[in-house]
Amino acid sequence: MNSKKLLDDSPDWTFEKLELYHQAIKEVAAQYRLDTYPNQIEVITSEQMMDAYSSVGMPIGYAHWSYGKKFIQTQQSYQRGEMGLAYEIVINSNPCIAYLMEENTMTMQALVIAHACYGHNSFFKNNYLFTTWTDADSIIDYLLFAKNFISDCEEKYGIDEVEDLLDSCHALMNLGVDRYKRPSKISMHEEHQRQKVREDYLQSQVNDLWRTIPKKDSDNQLIKNRFPSEPQENILYFIEKNAPLLQSWQREIIRIVRKISQYFYPQKQTQVMNEGWATFWHYTILNTLYDQGQVSDKFMLEFLHQHTNVVYQPPYNSDYYSGINPYALGFAMFCDIRRICEDPTDEDKHWFPDIAGSNWVDTLHFACKNFKDESFISQFLSPHLMREMKLFSITDNSQLNHIDITAIHNEQGYQKVREALSKQYNLANIEPNIQVYDVQVDGDRSLTIRYYPQQQVPLAKSAEQVLKHLHRLWGFEVKLEQKKDDGSIDLLKCCPAKKPEATL
């Protein structure tokens, strides 16, 4: 297929060259039916990259000290040479914004364009988690609104006041997402916004009533059920709607933090898939360009050098080991799916009757659309790959003095290893399950949240600090309980602290 002209492979990039490479990459991407948002590619300096880093990938962020801390950390370790900067940052928005660093060579820029602008971008546009839970069209507008709103609040109510509130919200950020219920779209802008204002107004009226209503009236509620009638998993939402003492601007800020948390929630659940998908496509696209004679050997050597660094997986006993490299696992899995489609062995046919021998591009798109890390691994991790990566699972029971090897990469172990790896990416297993359990509507208005441990894993010590933040938001006493294995309930902590009372 040596039909295309060789692209200039000198190391320095120019905007004209970027355009040429982009055009070539775009054509190849179209061959593979990669469906993307329009691309907006921005060239930035390393300082600007550090800025982008510290605002956790939000192109527009409100001011907060924790971003300053991250910035200082990044700057320090960059200046000391302890870390390099990422070559790119890509934002799930429409148009999809990708940052390229000016220090990159032309090869790197091409890699980044293929990786971010076609890999990540198409993942954002097609994966079900992103399409259901985030709204790429309006996120930039929303972030801008959030930034302005918060800076207005700072002017009106003072920086300290806003900062305290944000600190508390950040502490509970992970518990500010809806996991099972789709949030209403952020767009539908105007209408929604107006309705929101009304709602908040009503809410504050309700709270006023709540505060001043005579005691006997709440006796009626006593006869009724607990409040909330069912445990609530989205603690920030619960506070936004129900905390008695908050003012409407405070509720709005809680809402902002909640929305941003929700926006990032899919990214947490698709790290392996997202990075694997993008890595697979930069690899495939650039190789296709090479096959078509558009890029030179020199280009490919530099590219492969970088690519190999990215997908390196150190073994468990290496000094460099720090968990499973999502790039490595994801890339290997997508390559493996392609292999199963194109060249299945008997084993593959046995394990993957549906996809063995099917069209690989179709299968990959199907995988990209309908899975998250957890389900992706349990669906597609093949015995072949487990052998190749020499995966094995261990059980670490703190009651015992030793660690058990529960399964390895052999016939008896495949199912077990796959299941264990899949669980490892299930957020429900990684993040503690804490829910709003009860509010003493008729009494001291104390709020009770309950921790449901998984596999007897206790809550880390930081819980005490977080509880203080929760107390600040709620305004009245806050209790943290733990449900034990035998079904009994332990009162873990109270804020403000007091002597532990008898359990329920």
Binding site: Q48, M50, Y316, S322, G323, I394, H402, P458, S462
Partner: protein
């Protein structure tokens, strides 16, 4: 479809507001770090930033996460020796096997402090935060005047070594253009005529020759105009002017007898830094002389000044004498602005006090631009203060102030220098 945007020229300090927020939030810790740093750097070092460290544990952002313990399952890559059912000893350091859940940073209490650098301005702001570092005003202090030769335009007479070549040649050029205008105009006209005649056929040879000799003559006249003439010459002109001297000497005098503890010295040091800053806005060259004394005075370097311990009694006049001596020998009063700051806890040998007053009023105050005395003590004033009080009433450039804690320094400093605004 793609849209390339060059953002490199956009501001790079998008995070600076966040950085300020960070500094604002951790002001207390940073200030602690700054005041530690202030005691360990030189008084005259006001141009560099400072490295700050904050204990990592103060910086945490808590969130709910799983702790140690319980039953955890994990998948690891690169099996090289294990079979299912093997039991292995738990590696030391708890979570040694790592795990993809990103908890490692929370379980390992990072012992290292969080370190970063602040700029010079941030450093000064923080150092004088409780002192509200002022916009030091340029006061109308009667500085010493120095004679200085300054350029003052050009003149047509002067010494050959002051010739201004550019100006002279410009004039010469102008003169030549002016003097040769009519000749050149004539030459042009004649040349035009010749070219006109040449175009005719047959060309009138005689007439052309005539015209050519005319041109020849005109050109000779042009050559006779001199390239440069006496009245082309321009000279740089100089005049004498009086300018305030840009040199100052600052005497730091401190009592180092046993009764002065390190805290007191640190307060004094802040005062010296402030004075130095103030002077550095006004003068190009500042020399700082450190004189410490107990019963005897000695000129020392900065380190010894602040950190060496001495015991013994106190005779203040010894330091004043030494200061006067140094000033007489090295800093003549017509070239140097003399400033002095004396810090003490107020102790002095009783018989010596009248002598101090005498030296000050006769020798030092007449030549000093400013002399400030700060007494850092919680006790009641002693004879030195009372004697100085009398001096302060008569000499406007002499100021005394009482300081009990660090936060007193700036208000005192401001008062001291407001006095001069007469």
């Amino acid at each position: 479809m793609a849209n390339f945007i060059d953002r490199r020229l956009n501001g790079k300090n998008k995070s600076s507001v966040n950085r300020q927020r960070f500094i604002r939030r951790y002001k207390k810790q940073i200030q602690q770090s700054v005041s530690d740093a202030a005691t360990s750097r030189e008084v005259t070092d006001v141009t560099s930033g400072e490295s700050i460290s904050i204990p990592t544990k103060d910086l945490g952002e808590p969130f709910f996460h799983q702790g140690q313990g319980g039953i955890k399952e994990r998948v690891l890559p690169g099996n090289d020796q294990y079979q299912a059912g093997d039991q292995i000893a738990r590696p030391k350091g708890g979570q040694g096997q790592g795990g993809g859940s990103g908890e490692a940073s929370d379980s390992g209490e990072g012992a290292d402090d969080f370190q970063f650098n602040i700029s010079k301005d941030e450093y000064l702001d923080l150092l004088f935060e409780d002192l509200e570092l002022p916009n030091l005003q340029k006061n109308k202090i009667n500085d010493i005047l120095e004679q200085k030769r300054v350029r003052s335009g050009f003149s047509t007479v002067g010494l050959p070594n002051n010739i201004n070549i550019v100006r002279s040649l410009r004039k010469s050029l102008a003169r030549r253009i002016a003097m040769t205008g009519s000749e050149r105009r004539e030459i042009r006209a004649l040349e035009q005529r010749i070219s006109h005649l040449v175009a005719l056929s047959p060309s009138p040879t005689v007439e052309i020759e005539q015209l050519e000799t005319d041109i020849e003559q005109l050109k000779k006249r042009l050559q006779r105009v001199p390239f440069i003439d006496d009245f082309d010459l321009m000279f740089n002109n100089y005049a004498n002017e009086f300018v305030p001297s840009s040199r100052a000497v600052m005497f730091c005098i401190m009592d180092v007898s046993g009764s002065m503890d390190q805290a007191t010295k640190d307060i004094a040091k802040r005062f010296y830094i402030l004075l130095y800053l103030f002077l550095s806005r006004r003068y190009k060259t500042i020399e700082v002389i450190y004189i410490r004394h107990h019963t005897q005075a000695k000129e020392v370097d900065e380190h010894e000044f602040f950190y060496s311990q001495e015991t013994g009694g106190t005779i203040v006049s010894s330091a004043l004498k030494l200061m006067h001596e140094i000033q007489q020998n090295r800093y003549p009063k017509d070239q140097w602005n003399v400033y002095a700051a004396q810090a003490s806890d107020g102790d002095n040998w009783a018989d010596d006090t009248p002598l101090c007053r005498q030296i000050l009023s006769q020798k030092i105050l007449p030549i000093a631009r400013h002399f400030s005395y700060i007494e850092i003590t919680n006790r009641s004033h002693q004879s030195l203060w009372q004697q100085y009080q009398l001096l302060a009433d008569t000499y406007p450039q002499f100021a005394i102030k009482h300081i009990t804690q660090i936060s007193d320094i700036y208000p005192v400093f401001r008062e001291l220098f407001q006095k001069q605004l007469v």
